[in-house]
Subunit: 163 residues, 2 copies
DNA sequence: TCAAAACAATACTTTTTTGTCCGGTTTAAA
DNA sequence: TTTAAACCGGACAAAAAAGTATTGTTTTGA
């Protein structure tokens, strides 16, 4: 239950692009310089982000990267999804079954799944609602928005319960 | 942002112990059998859980493992903490600074930290409040409790805001 | 007392992930 | 048309994590 380097650095690079004036681009060496990473490594993230449709590239000398959409249109979840390991499906509880068995031993009556599902849902809610724009606007806005999400989610729960 | 095998399997093994009648123990081969894991692997988890103070062991033939506390006294967070890699501090955003710099490049004005902190706090809230006992009691109870936690957290937020 | 079964702990192997390297293509400008 | 700077993308190396093996210690009971 932790953040992979790919996720952190990739998000940081995306934020760098989000901070640019609309229409401007940034080259890999420039991003690498700003984030203190190697150019090669940054290139790797950017390729993933491009394949995920979040970033457009300009080739040739004077080339670089820019966001494919406005920062306010890009949810953090999109960034994380783009950065996921290409082959590997993401691990949740119960996805994995252990070596000896053909399928999850507890396909039925799993004691862990309900907890895991609820938690995942909350995380997903956050990451789909917070955008690059929100991060740009800094601490105040991010905290404010997360509060709003929590409150709203809670009212929805209340309704579900009272029905 | 995913669950490590250690965390999942370790928690499962803990749940196996929680399901036992009070005072009874379970041997590594028995746990391994029930979870479809190798005995050696299970032993590894159990060692971590013991070092974390969550599990007591009985040595010798007829030996085994049992919880050191009542299932209702063991929060999931304790289990996860015990299973963390011994040396490695957990990765959060901003913990890591990249190769070239001595400290995090964005020690000040980090655009990612407030988001990350808020999310972590929520996750922590869940894992400290849900216990092994809750998992045992099944889907209904777990879902109900997670709802309650969400609602309560939201009211607290409301107070903070209105002050 | 001895053997069998179980925990203890560390070393080892395999797999996955992280991060780098390098030969290729594209494009702007001299 | 040549050159330099940048992206492309797969191969490769290094580090971390997952999972196994092994050797040793403890205890029960024949």
């Amino acid at each position: 239950m932790n953040v992979s380097p790919l996720e952190e650095y990739g998000l940081r690079c995306a934020v760098q692009l989000a901070a640019l004036p609309r229409g401007e681009s940034l080259s890999a060496p420039e991003i690498a310089e700003r984030e203190g990473l190697s150019v090669e490594y940054v290139s790797k993230f950017m390729l993933l982000l491009r394949r995920g449709g979040l970033v457009r590239t300009i080739r040739g000398i004077k080339g670089g990267f820019l966001l494919a959409k406005a920062p306010s249109e890009i949810a953090l979840k999109e960034v994380f999804d783009a950065l996921k390991q290409p082959k590997k499906a993401p691990r949740g509880f119960c996805d994995s079954f252990s070596g000896k068995s053909e399928t999850c031993v507890r396909s039925k009556g799993c004691s862990i799944r309900p907890f895991w599902e609820t938690l995942s849902r909350h995380v997903e809610e956050f990451t789909t609602r917070i955008t690059l724009q929100d991060l740009l606007q800094g601490e105040e806005v991010t905290r404010g928005k997360t509060r709003a999400i929590a409150l709203e989610g809670a009212s929805r729960l209340k309704e579900e319960i009272s029905v």
